[in-house]
Each structure stands twice: as structure tokens, then as C-alpha cells.
Symmetry: C2
Subunit: 246 residues, 2 copies
């Protein structure tokens, strides 16, 4: 089994980490659009155009499934990808909602969705949660989280002040959807603000989803990795080495 | 006289503001590459490629001069622009250094350069300052300033904490080069940290430079503006209305 994982930059590596840990694939081809990162501040047309270009890239490889690890892509371009792909396609939004459903059966529960502006503005998580009976939903786009994580500030004063800026006035949720691939990297700090909340991580959600929806199971011994980036692939490889080293 | 002003996004409007105030042009064509913003995290090849595409765009207009308001473009792509343009080209780095020279003749003065990663890594300000005899130079890339400004946080706790993060341990400079079009929007707060420093603003520097180097003088009554963006031009126009309203 061979997967293509697509992200706007390095963030999708948090999803790759889960795929490797669960040994779902013989090979993963990773493409990060580092020359045009970040996607979360861009609009539907731009994100769709970039996503269809990434699809063309993956057509050069004999992959079984393309995984759009980027929530902004899943929010705006997943239908276009599915309509044009000669292989299976999975985003992260449907997997996230299904994972939440498994963990939080109570439909009265308060759900906090955290995502980029693109993801939140799309309203896609919210609509899908509504479909599954959840109504008590709050959506938040803490735009500075991505640059703070990119700056390597996974804890400390800057992150704390930025978190307080966005989280002030938010009542304790029962579950939080980490609707951006960067957010798992600061999940410990998010948990400190909301100690009672169950956190939904795209990587873990996708692993569950691939098994349930596509029957892709934990059978492969070692995952071979190939990295591609639209600029500076060496930097991507270096980050990958650091994040994936366990 | 007609100018084309090029920036990665909306930041170049701080330069446009100076051009309008000094009435240098009958018409300004503004192009913001909002679909691929920000440039400051990207590398030389990518920035050069995007800049040459912008040049092609400006060839559609009968302009007298193209002004690369973006410091990252000035840092990496100005020679390529000059080599390929059928009109005059100005960046902001040389103007910035010449403006500093006028204001701070003392070559022992301590100069602090603030810029994006691209601008700082290029070393272009530093080399040009050395050429003019300045040796006491410190360079800093406060990467979070741009996203904080984009988030509209021109003052308050988040900006203050972020500033302290980068400025702690920096000794008082005699002059600060605001080497990114976003930084004039938080110049008051920067001045609070370094009350004795003279701030060099790209917009004002370019106005001086256009007069000295190209003989473009304050003669035009009203400047007509035309705005173009690679995504969401309406958002650009709205920001322009707000920033340029005086």
C-alpha cells in the first residue's frame, strides 16, 4: 500500500507520524507546498487551484490513496480532488468528526473547533457536526498559533499570552477538534487551558478512518518515506527527521 | 508619471501612503501577491520567480518606474528585475541605507536592522551599510511581527510580549531600519522599547531616493490608484481604504 500525503507545508508530518506509528503503508510520498505556505489565510479559489496542482504531482506516482492532511484543503477542495483523482482520496475533517463521535457520544456536549481562517470560514466541521446531531459548537480561528509553532515556540511566555488572547471568554468545552496540523504540537499547552476537554487529533482520526472506510489495516513492517517540497526540500527533511524520530 | 508598486501583500501600502502624501505620481498601479503572501519565509529562488512574474504583469501597463516595496524582493530579486525591466526599477534597501546616512552621519552609530528571515538572511542591508562605513550593526528577524500586524494587533499585550521576546538583550541602537513594510504600522510600539533610536521608514526613504536618483519631484495634484491582487482584491481595497484614508 502506498499513500501520498499532501500538506501546505511541514504541518502534515503530524499526520504522517500517526500513519507510521500504526504501520499502515509500505511507502508514503509526502508533498509540502512550502513555496506557497500558509494556506489558512487564503481563499477557496486559491486553495482549490493549489490542491489540483498537487493532485497532478501525485499522478506521477503509483499511489493507492491521497491524504489531504491540511485542514484548509479538506475544508475547501476535497470534493474537487475526489472528482479528479484516479485513486482514493481522504481529507481530515470527516475523520475528525467520526473520531469525535466515537469518543463523545453525548450530543449535548460542548465542542470547540480550532482551525485556520480558511477552515473556520468554510463552516465544514460545523455542518458535519450538525449532521451528526451536535449543536453546542463554538468555532475559533486563533490565527497566530501557526506562526508561533513555526517559530518553534511550543511553550513559554509568547505562546501563553497568545493562547490567553484567543481563549479568554471561552467556556470549558467537552471536546476540542485540533483542526490544523500544527496544533497537535501545542496540544499539551491547549490542554492546560481546558483540562477537562478531550482533544481530537487529525492524525489519529485519519488512522481510524482509513481502517473503517477503506479497510487499510496495520500490517506493514516499515514505512519508506519520500519527501518533496515546492521550495527548500532540505528544510522539510530536517524538520521530518526531528518530528518523526520516535 | 506613472508608478507600479509591487508587494507580497497589503504591506506595501505603507510605501504607497508616502508616495501619495508627497504627490510624486499621477497614477499608481498596485499589485499585491496576496495568493502567495508572505514572502519573508521563502527562499531566493521562489522570491525571484514570483518577482519576475510580477514584472510581466506590470509590462501590461505604461509605467515609468516599478517600485518593489517588499524588502524581501529588494533583498533577493532586485538585480533580476532591473536586468529584465523595460522601465526604471527601485527597491527599498538602497533608499533605506541612503536615508539613514542623511540622518545618522556618525559611522560609529549602532544600527539595528529589523526584517523578515529572507531580508535578514540575504545580508543585503548589512553589506550596503558596511560599504558606507557603518560597522556597528545588529540584524534581527522578529518573524512574528508580520502575523501579529496582519491580525490587527497594533498594540496591547500580545504585541508587547512578542516584542519583549525578540528585543530582550538588544542594547539601545542609535537607529533602527524598519526593513519590512509591516513594521511602520507598529513603529510607535518599537519606539517605546528604543526611545532614543531614529527610525528609518521605507516609504519616506523611497520618496527621498526617487527625487535624488531619478529626479521625480512633488508636482502632481492627485494620485489615481489602481489595485490588483492575486487573490481577493476586495480585501486589499478595503485595507487600502482604511490605511490610506488620511
Amino acid at each position: 500500500m502506498r499513500a501520498g500525503v499532501y500538506d501546505s507545508g511541514v504541518g502534515g508530518l503530524t499526520v504522517v507520524k500517526s500513519l507510521i506509528q500504526h504501520k499502515l503503508f509500505d511507502e508514503i510520498i509526502y508533498f509540502g507546498d512550502t513555496a506557497r505556505v500558509p494556506y489558512g489565510i487564503k481563499d477557496k479559489n486559491t486553495i482549490t487551484r493549489y490542491s489540483l496542482e498537487a493532485l497532478e504531482f501525485f499522478k506521477n506516482f503509483d499511489i493507492d490513496i491521497m491524504i489531504a492532511a491540511c485542514n484548509s484543503v479538506s475544508a475547501y477542495a476535497i470534493d474537487e480532488l475526489k472528482a479528479n483523482a484516479p485513486f482514493k482520496v481522504s481529507g481530515v475533517i470527516k475523520p475528525g468528526v467520526l473520531a469525535l463521535k466515537n469518543k463523545i457520544p453525548n450530543r449535548e456536549a460542548k465542542i470547540l473547533i480550532l482551525g485556520t481562517n480558511a477552515t473556520i470560514n468554510s463552516g465544514k466541521y460545523e455542518r458535519l457536526l450538525n449532521t451528526h446531531g451536535y449543536q453546542n459548537i463554538e468555532s475559533l480561528a486563533p490565527s497566530l498559533f501557526v506562526p508561533v509553532v513555526e517559530e518553534g515556540l511550543f511553550n513559554g511566555k509568547v505562546l501563553e499570552t497568545v493562547m490567553r488572547h484567543y481563549f479568554e471568554g471561552i467556556t470549558q468545552p467537552d471536546a476540542i477538534i485540533l483542526g490544523c496540523t500544527h496544533f497537535p504540537l501545542i496540544s499539551k499547552e491547549i490542554q492546560k487551558f481546558f483540562p477537562k476537554a478531550v482533544l481530537i487529533h487529525s492524525g489519529e482520526a485519519v488512522v481510524e478512518f482509513l481502517e473503517d472506510a477503506f479497510g487499510i489495516t496495520e500490517t506493514h513492517e516499515n514505512t519508506q518515506m519520500k519527501f518533496f517540497a515546492s521550495e527548500n526540500p532540505d528544510k522539510l527533511k530536517e524538520v521530518a527527521k526531528r518530528w518523526l524520530k520516535d
